[in-house]
Amino acid sequence: MTPLRLGALLAVISVVYAISAVTGVAVLLVLLAAYSARIPAAALDWVELERKAPRRLFLGETGTVQVEVRNRGRLPVTWLSITDLVPFDLSTQPLRWATSLASGEARRAEFRIVGNKRGAYRLGPSTMVSGDVFGWRPAQRSVSAGPVVIVYPRIVPLYQLGLPAVSPFPELRTPLPLHEDPLRIVGVRPYQTSDSARRIHWTASAHQGSLLVTRLQHGFSRETMVLLDLSREGIGTRSRPIELAVTAAASILHHIVTMERLAAGLRFGEIHLDPAFDDVHLMAMLEVLAVAGSHEVPPSNLLEPVGLPYGSTLILITRRLAVDVTERLHVLRRRGWRPVVVVIEGDKPELPGIKIWEIADSRSLVEVGL
């Protein structure tokens, strides 16, 4: 039994028996039924939903999602229930919001999301439900998925991974004063008349009470490429070694770019990012690592010399070293590259002339949080 059917039935009765009260109720019901069948759905069609979310989140960071609904129609929306699906790793509950919109009105609500796990997450889709005030005919509309939130992988100090905190990789210094690297300050010394005024370290001078100039490191630094092997052959399919490898890659890249101020690049699967040392480049590499997962590309492809900057440091992060990979590492070393191997939870191989670091002990795993 629906209001429209009952209204129609009462209308027929009122025509046959000509009873004003029944006619009035019939008209009342038909009007209300027509309203509930058309108006809420039509009003809902004019409601627009927009989401604003942070593009990037670090692991464990809390972000705010703004959901704005605007009624661009002339009909009011008496009640509006919005359910915005959120990936489980960002929030354990979908975003639910109940509101009401007059004609032309816009309302905004804010919700919190937490980057609990690295990855790229798309917010939505959303479901908007409205209806009449009697609950006879609910109207529903879906809104397509919204923006993508990238949660960066975990970044930890290198000592937590069991790597030496200072210069763990063989970037080369040279005794020949080819040039001074203005980004690498190694100390201060008293001012000499031949020194340029731009070399004066004003803060230290003010502290000391006499003019001091910066001492810069003489030398040149080679570029570093991180080769992340997440192939099934190289690291398997278990999640913990994969997460540890990604964490190691992100931490190493972060250390090289922000601490050492050296250029670093990333090669992962078929993705290749040339070395650079600016923060934007680091963010791009972290975004790649955020969505990195197991793949089928053989690890030997990572060591293809094409595209690798000549003479650069190659940091291969893997779990198992196959024979062909070992051979290719030796070839690269003989040709002028500087390979380093970081082994994740695997057997530490003996490779003459190649530095090998191991991330396997339980202390590092606990400290990293895996």
Partner: protein, 459 residues
């Protein structure tokens, strides 16, 4: 105050208003008394804030007790009408309070109950409309003189006023219940609720009802001539049809006596029947036509009713009397669906006529899954058998539900064997795993255990 208590009090107040206001001469005064009584009683019980069960019992007892008191106190002419109205009011409040207490709370906290085919708010809305239909029938019966006490103009006016009051108060109460339920659900789901949503809901409800009531009044004023014309046309059409059927049967109308008695001694003239006089159709033919019409209606009702057997079986619970009432309600609803069936048939026929030659409009039928592997077929058969059994106990596989979700839902309700049965069905239907005699035997055992669990739950 919960929605259940609120609607209970509204109905209680309405019944008191009915009882008191039926003796008043004017419908407007009657409505005023009803509304005032509603406000006073609701406010009084709101301040008391008694437990819900006692409140409902007190409401019912008051409604029942007030009926004979009012009947004795009023004039003898109004006693019968008062009794009638009191009984109707009590039954109405009983019907609606049954829903409010047992069902509405389950909506707010459905964790421990298996949801039936129709949700509690849907049942509330449906019963509200059914009670309104019953009152409409009572109004029509009173108008036609079938209820002797309502032949008094004042009492009939009061009764019609109560009819209108039922709709206005009921629609407001229905809207309030819907609002409270929505807000309760949102709170349960930890939704952010804007503070002014309740106020806007109330404004929208009042505006809507006012506009609709004004529209109804306007339609009554403007459309009164049209209504009268339709009424006259309906009368003439029915009379014409009767005349036509009578003539088609080849029976002349009953002969009327001559208008003038011939003078004594004069030769009797030949009698010429009046062709326009159809009021005297032979009774047996009219009865025959009525029987054919009744048979056609019965056939239509039966056809529509049989389509609803599954739904009827799914709601077969409670006592024998409640089942009988439910069957009759379903029959009544089936009657209302006959026009829809006719319109649907006419639309399909029209679409078929407009279609190019050779086009087929037969709706594809979804056949049950019948694999060639006998063991998979047996597991599927066991699963379908369990579904049929569960449907007969008001536990139906929802259209959007996968077998896995169905099993999880029933497992949560305490039936562990269902989970194994649905797992076996999922493996048999959707996987490439080898299915043999042990799995088929296990499916049979799981089905039996699940049915036993159902029976235990029902008992």
């Amino acid at each position: 105050m919960t929605p259940a208590s609120f609607i209970t009090l509204i109905l209680l107040a309405g019944s008191i208003g009915w009882t008191l206001g039926v003796a008043l001469p004017a419908p407007s005064a009657y409505l005023a008394v009803s509304m005032a009584a509603a406000v006073v009683v609701v406010e009084a019980f709101r301040r008391l804030d008694r437990p819900r069960g006692k409140l409902m019992a007190a409401g019912e007892a008051t409604a029942v007790a007030l009926t004979p008191v009012a009947a004795v106190a009023l004039t003898p002419d109004a006693q019968a009408a008062t009794l009638f109205v009191g009984v109707v009011a009590t039954l109405t409040s009983w019907l609606l309070t049954q829903i409010t207490v047992s069902d509405l709370d389950a909506v707010i906290d459905p964790a421990d109950s298996i949801e039936s085919a129709m949700s509690a708010p849907e049942r509330l809305r449906a019963r509200f409309l059914w009670v309104g239909l019953a009152q409409s029938v009572a109004v029509v019966a009173g108008h036609g003189g079938l209820i002797p006490p309502l032949q008094s103009r004042a009492i009939a006016g009061g009764f019609v006023g109560s009819f209108l009051g039922y709709w206005l108060i009921g629609l407001m109460a229905l809207s309030t219940v819907e609002r409270q339920l929505r807000i309760a659900r949102w709170k349960r789901d930890h939704a952010v609720i804007d503070a002014d949503i309740g106020i806007r809901w109330g404004v929208a409800r009042t505006t809507l009802l006012t506009v609709a009531a004004l529209g109804a009044v306007l339609a009554l004023g403007v459309g009164r001539p049209a209504l009268s014309g339709l009424h006259v046309a309906t009368t003439w059409i029915s009379a014409g049809l009767t005349s036509l059927v009578t003539r088609l049967m080849g029976n002349p109308p009953r002969q009327s006596p001559p208008n003038q008695v011939p003078p004594t001694g004069a030769a009797p003239s030949d009698f010429v029947p009046d062709p326009g006089n159809t009021a005297g159709a032979p009774g047996e033919w009219l009865d025959f036509v009525l029987l054919v019409a009744f048979a056609l209606v019965f056939l239509g009702v039966y056809t529509v009713f049989t389509r609803r057997r599954a739904q009827l079986a799914a709601t077969r619970t409670g006592s024998v009397w409640s089942q009988v009432v439910r069957v009759w309600l379903e029959l009544l609803e089936a009657i209302t669906q006959i026009p829809a069936v006719i319109v649907g048939w006419w639309r399909r026929r029209r679409t078929h006529e407009m279609a190019p030659p050779g086009a087929s409009f037969r709706r594809p039928r979804i056949e049950p899954w019948q694999p060639a592997d006998p063991f998979r077929r047996r597991i599927a058969s066991e699963f379908r058998s369990y579904l049929r059994t569960a449907e007969s106990r008001r536990i139906a596989l929802r259209p959007h539900e996968t077998p896995f979700e169905f099993g999880v839902r029933l497992e949560a309700a305490g039936s562990t064997a269902v989970g194994r049965l649905t797992d076996l069905y999922s493996i048999a239907r959707y996987s490439d795993h080898t299915v043999g005699e042990p799995e088929a035997r296990e499916a049979t055992a799981a089905r039996r255990q699940a049915v036993t669990d159902l029976d235990q739950d029902a008992s």
